[in-house]
Amino acid sequence: MALMSKNYAVLSAIADEMRTTPNLGFWYQGGTGTTVATGPMGKIVDLFGEFGAPRVWFEGPIDEPAIMAAALGSAVYGNPSIAKIPSMATYMVAEMLFNQAGKYYAMHGQQFTCPLVAWMDGSRRIRFSGPQHADVGWEQAFANMPGLIVVTPSTVYDAKGLMTAAIRSPDPVVFCDYNENTGPQDVPEEAYEVEFGKAVVRTQGDAITIVAFAPAAMQVPAAVTELAALGINAEFIDPISLKPLDVDTIEASVRKTGKLLLVDHGHWTLGPTVQVGYEIAERVPGTKMKRLAYPDVPVPGAQHMTRWLTPLTANVVDAVKRMV
């Protein structure tokens, strides 16, 4: 175990796989900054420096469909591939994921696998980002697309393990990497996999079940601590992957607590936790349910407006207090 940043953890997971998988390629735009990170004891991971072109696509164009398609074509040819897409451009590659990556295996009668990782850089709702650079919640669109796997890690451990699992998967994986304030965390230095479709119970409790995935999941731990101080033991479940979605773990929790709070950082209409809410409503009738999400408005530039619109720790605490 060693303390490492999420970026280092993910890049080192990629480097580990690149060392053992000869044709694994990595596509991104811009220069070396994207592929270099400093880790524990001053260790450096440098994908371009270590593997070079053409496996690492140094200085790719600001042309996300080209980046995604380059990785996709190499993947169907038989080379596992990773494309890194910046946060504001996730929908630029939606067509490649919707009509190509997710369908290639099925539509050609299982002749081609598509071992592709779409590493989607998540945005942060920080100052000066404004409506086009500060939006989150697009993962719900990809979760709706057939043939894709969609993962949303919220811890360094999950990010590293899910990236390794994504690279080894024969199916296309959308890796939603939200850059909220995840500080360095203690994770194994060697490669390991985190299984898709297995929700994690972060804290156990019997008063209420809270379901949130990244980036909302990063707001919940503080709320759980605050609630515990008030004598309310909330059970916090992070689904980690939206597709496949582990409803069974959530169902078991709701059967115990009878209450469910859903938190989305994406927009209100048809956000991913709507799916959780529907499935629980059907499986555990009578569940008391509430959902928090970002309203259906573009993210304003002014930070105080954005903060007010986002369901943060205080909103979670408030909602739970009203529900129990």
């Binding site: 053409p54 074509g73 993947a75 040819y77 490649m96 190509q100 002749q111 081609f112 199916d171």
Partner: protein, 420 residues
Amino acid sequence: MSRTEDRDLLPGMETVTADVKEERVPATGRVHSRRDFLKGMLATGIGAAFVATGTQAVRAGPYGPFLAGDLTEEKLVDIYRTMLIMRHWELKNKDEAINGKIGYPGHLYAGMEASAAGVSAALRNKGDENYIDITTATHRGHGATLAKGADMTACFKEQLMKADGLDRGYGGSMHLADRSIGMFGVNSIIGGNVIISIGVANGIAIRGTDQVSVAFIGDGASQSPYLSSALNTAKKRNLPFILVIENNGYQVSARHENIAATQDLADLALGFNIPKYVVDGQDVLAVYDVAKRAVDRARAGGGPTVIETKCYRYFDHSGLAGAKLGELGAFNLGYRSNRELQHWLARDPVTLHRRTLVRWEVLTEEQADEIEAKVVQEIDEAFEVAFASPEQLADEALDTAYASGLKMPATHWYDWNTRA
């Protein structure tokens, strides 16, 4: 008569008519080398016109020696047979659609055979995955699939979406693919196959093999934003990539010159400093000629090429409008004249190649007839076999969306956790 002479001029293009004499040079009627060929040209007195301005000769002329002149007789006949398969498969497809046996014929390729057959003749179509050349095609892809060497019965089965079709019934007309021959898929998103082929070329670069990645598109895809992405990447990364624009003149029912900014769509290549060829798409050997140059260059590490074949589709954009049982070409379509269609039919690519082979004494008329009759018979049999073959299980799709075996529930049933 030399090998270049008997191909006609492309309609509507600038012509310099060579005074073609019915005189055979050299004595064998065969051209064995470039030297013999040029000697022959001079002997017939057309050499100067051909070399200086060329037109029909022109189609091959400006790009250097006539490489199709070096093809073996076996290969030349093989190209003829391939074109016949493409033609008669499509006619059978059309006729059985009219008969109601095929639900929808898709986008018919008839009339454009020289493009895919000529290019594919310059490719490696057999071998392992690190050797074979790889193609993708646009939605009008029956031709590209058959030209690469796909089994005609398997193609019919997929057209009928049967369980043992090329795509096991999951794809159909607009998604034909056969990995075993390096045909990586007909793709019905206009321009989508182009950047996938770029990705394949990237994959080839990673593996360091000398394979070539080819994308077939129509004139309609040439305005796709993917094109600039693809060409920039191909040039900058020096990828073994060939873009073949089959310019049949119409984007659905709109003439391409009303849409495209340039008359020659291959001019796209100019902005990226990529070599381009504009070629008579009725003439399979002219297409082969430029394709061979492009393939050789790509294999040797010389990077991408853009080829535009000027051709024509005999039927409507898709479906059966104007199509009749047993008839070649869809007449009385609102957006084009019957005379225009007849004009192109007069230079039919299959007939043209046959005529060349007969004049070169590669085949006699009788042998050509025999080959055609055999192909027609094989296609009739292939269709019968395909028609009688079983359909896919209705619920299999739930289990086959993910290579990892992830299964999706049947959510359309009342109790969707169990299958009905």
